[in-house]
Amino acid sequence: MKEIIDILEKHFGTDTPITPESHMIDDLNGDDFDVVDVVCQIEEALGITIPEEETMGLGTVQELITVVSAHVES
């Protein structure tokens, strides 16, 4: 969780506080490419691979955490 927030802060900046409810596009002013970029960065940092189907359409930070957590724990 902390690592994910760190990556998000480095990517989107800290002007807007990042919470699980934050929407990566609506609240953090990202775009669809940013979401893919962030997923790639998380995969690299945590040494995991998440199937693309699971990351398509991700919106909120909580949704991202849920998907990532499923692969970290397994």
Partner: protein, 144 residues
């Protein structure tokens, strides 16, 4: 007798002068027409030039928008590498590009007079908008 010849000569010269005058007037009229034609041509050229400038400005804006989209710099100063993302997540990038293509097609429809849908009218979040022509497609969206 000499007076009569003098008058006759003057009369013939007058006829020649009148003919020359008519030719000159004809020439002036032609010049006027040419001038008007030139003015019209100049107006048409100026208009075409203005249209080209406008098109060029729009292309530059599109280019800047695309440049920002594909080479966006994140908060850490790192530039987005779209090529690398496409290698790592090809399906996701394809989906995004396809979505943008659909949005662009919709922009053309709107430009040709297609009415906005309720979803387009009511879009107030960035994730809901048509990012290709937001000002036309989503009048109620207030950007950052």
């Amino acid at each position: 007798m000499g007076g009569i010849f003098y008058v006759k000569n003057l009369q013939s010269q007058l006829v020649i002068s009148e003919m020359n005058n008519a030719k000159l007037n004809e020439g002036i009229e032609m010049q006027k027409e040419l001038l008007i034609q030139k003015e019209n041509d100049f107006k048409a050229i100026t208009e075409a030039n203005n249209n080209l400038l406008l098109s060029n400005r729009q292309l530059e804006e599109d280019n800047q928008r695309l440049d920002q989209k594909f080479n966006k710099i994140n908060a850490s100063g790192k530039q987005r590498d779209i090529g690398n993302l496409a290698v790592q997540k090809p399906k996701s990038i394809e989906m995004i590009l396809n979505k943008q293509q659909v949005e662009r097609a919709r922009c053309f429809e709107i430009a040709q007079g297609s009415p906005l849908t309720e979803l387009e009218k009511n879009a107030t979040k960035k994730s809901q908008i048509n990012s290709e022509c937001t000002s036309q497609a989503n009048p109620n969206y207030v950007g950052y």
